[in-house]
């Protein structure tokens, strides 16, 4: 780090330099960018899943569960929820896998490897899913 710094040199120091225009299709330029944008767009379906959950709770509390079930069984609604399922699963996999980047856990002076944290996250996902399914479906 011996590079000499010259402060205040930002901005248009070179008038004849070429400044590229914004690339409107940047997210198509590499697979990594496209996967990133798809990962971020799962948030649309996270929001939809919450709306759907609130509609369900409202139907349960308001005694209109049969009407809700009929709505949920419409083909377009099933199609929407299949996409929402794919999106929320994609969100879960990417989010739980990226967690070790933000959390550095040290045990015995050594950094716990990423796969262990990811394994723990996915185990927690499986356990919570099973718990919810059990609570909902037990009769």
């Amino acid at each position: 780090m011996t590079r000499e710094m010259t402060g205040g040199m930002t901005g248009d120091t070179r008038a004849d330099a070429y400044r590229p225009r914004r690339d409107r299709l940047w997210f198509t330029r590499s697979r990594g960018y496209t996967v990133f944008v798809l990962r971020e767009l799962t948030s649309v379906f996270v929001a939809w899943s919450i709306v759907f959950l609130l509609m369900l709770v409202d139907a349960v509390l308001g005694g209109s569960l049969p009407e809700f079930a009929a709505l949920a069984a419409r083909p377009w609604m099933i199609a929407l929820n299949v996409v929402a399922l794919a999106a929320t699963v994609f969100h879960a996999v990417t989010f739980l896998n990226l967690a070790p980047k933000a959390t550095v856990v040290r045990l015995d002076g050594r950094r716990v490897p990423a796969w262990m944290i990811q394994g723990g996250n996915h185990t927690a996902w499986a356990l919570v899913s099973l718990l919810i399914a059990y609570v909902v479906l037990r009769s």
């Binding site: 710094m5 997210f27 990594g32």
Partner: protein
């Protein structure tokens, strides 16, 4: 290079921008020998020496240490000294300047913006209070060295800036290397600063949306994406627990 009839050639399409002459970059094609042991940089050097002396590009060490020969090769940010031409056979291969920076000439970009950002994060050991004499040593355990060593490998080649869509869209973003280098000092046991004032900003760590491309293109495995996410955790904890430092 001696027996050109025997040696296969590869076409290199090189972006040319001559201020005053070109309104925007244009591609110029050159056929260079496709040698097994030639990096993209060797192809460019061949062009400059034998075919067109007017071509401008930066290079120095030719061994992945100086960080000056970063360019966009077939759309990807690469160190041209560490990228072999055979990877792109039979060609053509497109060489453009690093994305996200103003182009001064041909493949040479203006990095003043980065240099100003780098110095803004105080990339040196910040000490408070009495300084030990110059002869004193700052001893560190292997664990203390390990805590920051990875981030100290950065060679300022700027591939991470070029690959970062956040930076390319918004040049005010502090960017991957500057934050990773700030973390290099934050995590050093000899340093007494946490650079919260320059990192806890919308255009600093909070501008990052974790695309992760910076880490993918880094030739030194610095993992700037990880450095940024780790600082987000520290900064968030410090914000909710105002009495905690670091």
């Amino acid at each position: 290079m001696t027996d050109s009839a025997e040696t296969p050639v590869i076409r290199m399409e090189v972006a040319r921008y001559r201020p005053g002459e070109d309104a925007e970059p244009v591609f110029q094609a050159y056929d260079v020998p496709l040698m097994d042991d030639w990096a993209v940089l060797d192809g460019l050097t061949h062009i400059k020496d034998r075919l067109d002396g007017s071509l401008s590009f930066r290079w120095s060490c030719r061994m992945g240490v100086c960080g000056s020969c970063g360019m966009t090769v077939n759309g990807e940010a690469r160190l041209t000294c560490g990228t072999f031409l055979t990877e792109y056979a039979p060609g053509p291969v497109r060489i453009e300047p690093l994305k996200g920076f103003p182009v001064i000439r041909d493949l040479v970009v203006d990095i003043d913006d980065f240099l100003a950002k780098l110095s803004s994060v105080r990339p040196w050991l910040v000490r408070e209070g009495e300084e030990p004499p110059l002869t004193a040593e700052y001893a560190q355990t292997p664990e203390q060295l390990e805590a920051y060593k990875q981030y100290s490998m950065c060679i300022n080649c700027l591939l991470c800036y070029s690959a970062c869509p956040v930076y390319v869209l918004d040049p005010d973003f502090l960017g991957p290397a500057a934050i990773a280098l700030a973390q290099r000092y934050n995590l050093d046991s000899r340093d007494m600063d946490d650079r919260f004032d320059v990192l806890n900003l919308e255009d600093a760590v909070w501008g990052c949306t974790f695309v992760g491309e910076c880490t993918k293109v880094c030739p030194k495995h610095v993992d700037p994406a990880e450095a940024i996410q780790r600082y987000k955790v520290s900064a968030a904890l410090r914000s909710v627990l105002p009495w905690s430092r670091r």
